[in-house]
């Protein structure tokens, strides 16, 4: 009896292991690690260990922080601008059918344009520096914020509108208790994609025409042949990007779980 139970429990655990996909994820990470180790036999790629050491070195000396802060500042401020415009436009289009028909296809198709072509325009209008980078990051992050905001509002079930009328909620109450929780998961997706794109565009801008930031360091250190330091910075960017993605992905799953239970 005891043995059967243990076996059943073990089998259940096995199923959970498999369905969580953890093994597969680990396998892929191992493969990626092997690829990294294999490529690091060339002089152009630092081994993971050297990269970590070089990154530690830059953290100790303090040379990581100024460019990191610069990049983060451009990322977050650019995203903030994109988010405020994106949410405003998203709400407007979510509410008004006429605005939606006129503007939505155009704004969505803007997503297919390589935003880098607008960077020289930002540069000529705002000069090289933080403001042009922020403007470019805002352009780069705008589309997903707008699309997900707009989709989230359109996705509110019609029953919810009735519900808030039946309960005679004031507009403020309805927004806080009904609409905001309903669009929260979509808003987190917008946040995740928008922030990721903001970071990508900040680094992109810095790798082309800029004076400060992680992207600038990346190109400059390569020019000087400091391969270990370059891979240290790539590692920092990886951790940053994947950290943002996983953290917000977790928040999203939590919210969806909460919405599902109600």
């Amino acid at each position: 009896m005891q043995a059967t139970l243990t076996r059943a429990r073990a089998r259940a655990r096995g199923v959970r292991w498999k369905s969580s996909g953890l093994l597969g994820a680990l396998a892929l990470l191992v493969v990626l690690m092997v690829v990294w180790l294999w490529t690091s036999t060339s002089a152009l790629v630092a081994s993971p260990w050297d990269a970590v050491q070089a990154l530690g070195q830059r953290i100790r000396v303090g040379s990581l922080w100024p460019p990191l802060l610069w990049t983060l500042q451009a990322t977050f401020l650019g995203f903030a601008i994109a988010a405020s415009i994106g949410v405003a436009v998203g709400v407007m289009l979510g509410v008004s059918a006429r605005a939606r028909r006129a503007l939505a296809p155009v704004l969505v198709s803007f997503g297919s344009v390589p935003k880098i072509v607008f960077y020289p325009i930002c540069l000529t209008l705002l000069k090289v520096g933080m403001s042009s980078e922020i403007a470019f990051v805002a352009i780069g992050a705008f589309v997903p914020v707008f699309i997900y905001c707009f989709e989230a509002i359109r996705g509110i079930p019609a029953v919810y509108y009735k519900l808030s009328r039946v309960y005679r909620l004031s507009p403020a109450q309805a927004a806080a208790k009904v609409y905001l929780p309903a669009i929260a998961p979509g808003a987190v997706v917008a946040l995740r994609l928008g922030l990721s794109l903001a970071l990508i565009h900040a680094v992109l801008a810095e790798m082309t025409v800029a004076r400060r930031g992680l992207g600038v360091d990346l190109v400059r250190l390569y020019g000087r042949g400091e391969v270990d330091a370059v891979w240290g910075i790539i590692l920092a960017l990886l951790v940053l990007a994947i950290g943002i993605n996983l953290a917000l992905g977790g928040v999203e799953r939590m919210l969806r779980g909460a919405a599902g239970r109600q």
Binding site: K18, S19, S20, G21, L22, L23, G24, A25, L26, A27, L28, L29, S42, L44, V45, A102, L103, P105, V106, S109, G111, S112, V113, P114, K115, I116, V117, F118, Y119, P120, I121, L123, T124, L125, R192, L193, S196, L199, I200, V203, L204, M207, T208, V209, G215, L218, V219, Y222, V230, I233, I234, L237, L238, A241, I242, I244, N245, L246, G249
Partner: protein, 238 residues
């Protein structure tokens, strides 16, 4: 809407809100673009970008499709790979560009590699999701007709998952075009992205805006054309 934007642009430069030497009017840019199109060298640049896009896209699409199939057939890797692949979206892939440039030289290879990765991710994810969400009824139909595994895949699963695969492919086209232009802008010897960088650095605003208008037009045309194709397809497959 686009005409409106062009008019606003023209108006800004007409009233000289910004110095015309920095921001030429929309009309001037269009004129320059027409002249360039007649001149012929712009076609070479366009050809270089399109060539990179085509190679990157076919490699990424093929790899993405195969990995998507694997992720669907083997749930062990399917669930675990999806979050890692979607994290790849979030990665600034351009950070790897300098290393690739040093390894392969300023050529098509580094651009194609990163462009292919950008195309690979959405195709793999869309293919695996599309196949996993094929309705049970369809699977039963295949079982009733005693289709072989191969027939089931070709006649039932792939057609049923086609809308998802097409959607993934559209994202792939968009992403690899974005990456090809951006990487050319960082460092290349030709291509549309390179030309925008070049005309910016050498302060030739008229040509720069002409190239910008061209890239935006290509992207929008690609988008609306595939919108049309996709709508046709979805009507066909209901």
């Amino acid at each position: 809407m686009f005409l409106g934007l062009l008019l606003i642009w023209e108006a800004i430069s007409r009233v000289q809100l910004v110095k015309p030497s920095v921001l030429p009017g929309a009309w001037a840019a269009l004129e320059t673009l027409l002249a360039l199109l007649k001149g012929g060298s712009i076609w070479v640049e366009m050809g270089a970008s399109v060539r990179r896009l085509a190679v990157a896209l076919s490699v990424g699409e093929a790899a993405g499709f195969l990995v998507g199939l694997a992720m669907w057939r083997l749930p062990l890797i399917g669930r675990g790979w999806r979050p890692i692949l979607s994290s790849l979206y979030a990665m600034p892939l351009s950070a790897f560009y300098p290393a690739l440039l040093l390894a392969a030289g300023v050529s098509d290879v580094p651009v194609v590699i990163l462009g292919a990765i950008a195309a690979f991710v959405p195709v793999a994810i869309a293919t695996s999701i599309g196949l996993a969400e094929v309705r049970l009824a369809l699977r039963k139909v295949a079982a009733v007709f005693q289709c072989s595994w191969w027939q089931t895949l070709l006649k039932v699963f792939l057609p049923a998952a086609l809308p998802d695969i097409v959607a993934g492919t559209r994202l792939a086209i968009t992403y690899s075009f974005i990456y090809v232009i951006a990487l050319e802008f960082i460092n290349a010897s030709d291509g549309l992205g390179f030309q925008i960088r070049f005309t910016y650095e050498f302060f030739r605003p008229r040509e720069m805006y002409a190239y910008i208008v061209l890239v935006v037009t290509i992207a929008l045309m690609q988008h609306s054309l595939l919108d049309f194709v996709q709508k046709r397809l979805s009507r066909h497959f209901g």
